[in-house]
Symmetry: D3
Subunit: 241 residues, 6 copies
């Protein structure tokens, strides 16, 4: 059971992934993450305030916002700011990014401050939300390291790594890291967010054209574990740079 992927990529291969740091001179952390043609610019901004529901409780917060430039895609989309609202898809994605990062942060160790992760898609070719999570960890790592360096906090509030990848069943074959053309024709796809310890932070699996079997799901899970392992190594390299 084989399917020819674009550029002859193997079923269990990631696209070329790069994590470039230092791409914004003002932000406490920043990362331009690329998965093939998908490019997401992430900044981490530290603010000395927390949302109202946390005030005075001695702990911090990590949140995320997601956006896509109108011409990040093949045809121009509408600008959400001029539409007057964020789409359901945008809100769903930014909620996912925020939850994923919060899963590896010790909020008490962060202290009463907020880190906002802005994830803006410069160019989209599938997998923007998982690229955003993967890059956001790098930006968050930089921002928290900076807080430690500056003596704002005693130790890093980062408990572990977190990274994400999408997988899908295309023409019956489970494959890793879908690009846009694969994604839009996949029978089913799933986004996996895992920690460095191998624990599940989030799984979002959807049968797009048909339901998929438990066996197929297990195959996707295996691919994700392999791919995310590679992403963890890239994250560590970027953080050490």
């Amino acid at each position: 059971m084989t399917a020819k992927r674009p550029f002859d990529r193997a079923a269990d291969s990631l696209r070329t992934v790069t994590l470039e740091t230092g791409v914004n001179r003002y932000a406490e952390g920043s990362c331009l993450v690329a998965f093939g043609h998908t490019r997401v610019l992430v900044t981490a901004s530290v603010e000395e305030r927390v949302p109202p529901f946390l005030r005075g409780r001695g702990q911090g917060w990590v949140t995320a916002e997601y956006g896509m430039l109108p011409r990040a895609t093949h045809t121009r989309g509408r600008r959400e700011a001029s539409e007057g609202k964020q789409s359901g898809r945008t809100q769903e994605i930014q909620r996912l990014i925020g939850r994923s990062l919060r899963a590896v942060v010790d909020m008490a160790a962060l202290g009463e401050r907020q880190i906002s992760l802005d994830c803006d898609v410069i160019q989209a070719d599938g997998g923007t939300r998982t690229a955003a999570i993967t890059g956001a960890w790098v930006a968050l790592r930089q921002a928290t390291d900076l807080l430690v360096q500056e003596g704002m906090i005693a130790r890093s509030p980062l408990l572990d790594q977190v990274a994400a990848v999408s997988c899908g069943v295309c023409q019956g074959v489970p494959v890793l890291d879908l690009e846009y053309e694969e994604d839009s024709n996949a029978e089913a796809d799933a986004n996996f967010v895992l920690t460095g310890a191998g624990d599940i932070v989030e799984i979002q699996a959807t049968g797009e054209k048909r339901g998929f079997t438990r066996a197929e799901f297990e195959a996707l899970f295996g691919l994700a574990e392999k791919g995310i392992g590679e992403l963890f190594a890239l994250q560590r390299a970027a953080a050490a740079a």
Copy 2:
């Protein structure tokens, strides 16, 4: 490894589930679904039009909207209509319900018409989105049966059943069908949407307080398969009533 559940419910037991039909005299299909204290009123409305992106293509559409009455919960929430927008959570849920039902509908057999599933939570005690999906299938079944009876379409566009349940890890123990108090203290939880054939339509798994292991996830999956099997029987009984 045991945890005492409210009302001594077994780890693999559903709450009392009822699916009452005929609860709205105007709608083409309706179902008041209860999972314990959670109660969701679902109506299926047939409209002889489709969204713009489908016009003239000879196929139908199924969509869903979700709402919660302000006092469905322990403390009064704000009314989304007076807020001027639906929350990200609401949009995420109604998108999930719509996708789940579309997975079992043959859109060409439905013809160029739309069925809207309105899912309004009258009282919330955990699991409102999975209750909504389970009840929406019953309302949708009634509406499509009516279209067949009235000779609007030749055969039912419903390809299979679909139902959903939430599971979670509470104090280390995987349990089925969380009620609110369990849900808000769970370490991790997951919503499963499966078809009558046993295929996966959607999985949304989230580590709330910590990541969870693949073994825990597999245990939740098993519980979901058991619970959803029971829901399928209740759906068939309601549809036959």
Copy 3:
């Protein structure tokens, strides 16, 4: 001068009216009110805060919100939450409900807290606003009785009963308690809100197809007094249950 009403109802007869309490396990008061096929679910929620313009003045507030489920009507309407705003009609109705209930409440006796009356129309067959007012009094009575029982306030802030009914001129004949089909064909209609003492809280009279004469108006007023008298008895029975 006679007109045949649906189901041979007499010109001065109410539809079957029921006021069912205890329909929400969280709210401090609740009432499912039915006038024939019209059904409105009312909850009364006590909150220990008042609107900004009343803070620190030692008195309370009663407010109301009104909504209609999309398929409460013969054909599906749009959901106001997804529209992004409440219609002028909705705002007009909820302002009326709030004013009507405030007319019988001693705000100083209520203390610095707010009671919100949420009136959600489950099914609409004419007279939803008057049904809402009539049921809201029952829910409010329960909520205020609870405050007294729990020792939060020394005595009931409820000064009197308040109830409402619609009347109209149909084919030249003044009739009580219009159902939808009558309402949409009435030459003129009026909503009356009266206190137990017989005083006027609100009258909203509108010539829909033609102006109406002062004599016709007086006839409607008489019908309303009769009908509201019967509603007061039903309210007392529901409150005593």
Copy 4:
């Protein structure tokens, strides 16, 4: 039973009322109406289109919009355009104005066109909605006369006059045409909209501080009939000017 009114006005006296036409060089009809210090600028705009629900039905429509300049009142209010929405009060008032004028228009005679009545309050001292209705009739009369003069329609679609006034119970005394200070202290008030034939178009009566008796209501009704009779004469004079 007497109460001293500001400027020793008699209980059954209108304030000085003026209806000045020709105040906008572009509008098909216009009227600056003053009731004492209350001043409302009304324009009638003819447009050769009707709302979607009337298209192709060979009949016209009359609608109204209402606004208040931010400093029309003693203290500056917020500008609704910058707030991003019209208040419930504004919507309620403009719906009332529209219904009132439609009551005296033969929509078939108007033909498939719309007349919009814009009522903008330049200065507010009570009774803005009733002043707006009274002035809007004059502007509408001018616009419909113009349509007849220009041969667009064969005969005037105006069936009768319509005018409005507010009355209230102040310190126990029924009085005509409340100014702001009276209005804000009235025990009860009512707006009456009547036709030249003496028929009721709208009554909106509200017990502000207490319910009011049927006898008080009848007294207000009598005052309104007297005052509106005087307004009809002023309207005819303005239309003849």
Copy 5:
């Protein structure tokens, strides 16, 4: 090089300009400004508060809002309040008015209070924004004089006069104070805002149909200096009235 202007106006002539004060009985300052058929009602409202970014800094603020009645123009425009937002044009204009007036106010001398200038266009025939600025200075002068009279501040915070006019190139000829028909056909136009001392507060020059030469621009500048000189005299006369 000559072009015939409407009403044979000379290229360097203003339309008839009037500045009428005392047109609102509640506002601390008010001015009805007319440039030919263009009429703008300006009120100045003093409020004992400042925007959040200025609190506690011992200085004041001057801000402006701009609106246009729907039938101020030849054909009826949409009401921004019912549209739910101010247009980009409206926001641009009110920002310009605010900046222009702030340029001649000593904010420390004003003290911690805000003056809001509401500029509402009653009738539009070109040059509404420059008329608004010119009239707003008069209203602001009245309001600040009143603060001095009432002993709220020791001396006037007004440092100088400010006035504005539009100029344009019509059929190749530079002309002063465009009316609507000229403005909509101009090749280029420019708004000049100058102080009594002759300094530039704002210039907004736009090539509408083609770019314009520096020589043309200089000619417009000269016309503006002449016209604004005349406006300053009218402002002083109005302020002295």
Copy 6:
């Protein structure tokens, strides 16, 4: 009269300006423009439709939208999409960009299609609107060249170049191309938009802290002419690349 500029830049020197093309693989034209640390990503998108007011008139349209990533600035700003509206500043800027580019386009030669210029600020250090205009011309040139190459149109609709720069008076000295720190302390500043032929498209001059003299204005104009001349050379080089 000299003032030390950051990095010892001469009063009449531009910052380092780069215009990088080919930065988006989907857009018909794209340019990443940098003026020192200011970086704006511009894409030109061709769409085979025009706005409603131009339909069927055989001519095209050019429009622009502007946005700023939340952390483009020293401290994080709010995301306009989540705010639910574009600020007045944003709308003012995007209107300016659109007008500036339209000034050099022959709309009939473009044919009935629209080109949208999306200008997104990645990093802001002053002069974002003028950088956007300068880069947008390059992206527009690419998009129109592509239309010619593909035979969609017979000849280029671009009539000339257009570029822009800001100038200001800082500590009494007129200087070219302000960076953020200069801009926020300038006594006055002005944005100039000129064509290749030297004609004025737009001038927006504002006295920020004080009015400025006509002599100062003329000095700024001279600096702008010099700087824009250099920008034209860079645009031609980028277009030829």
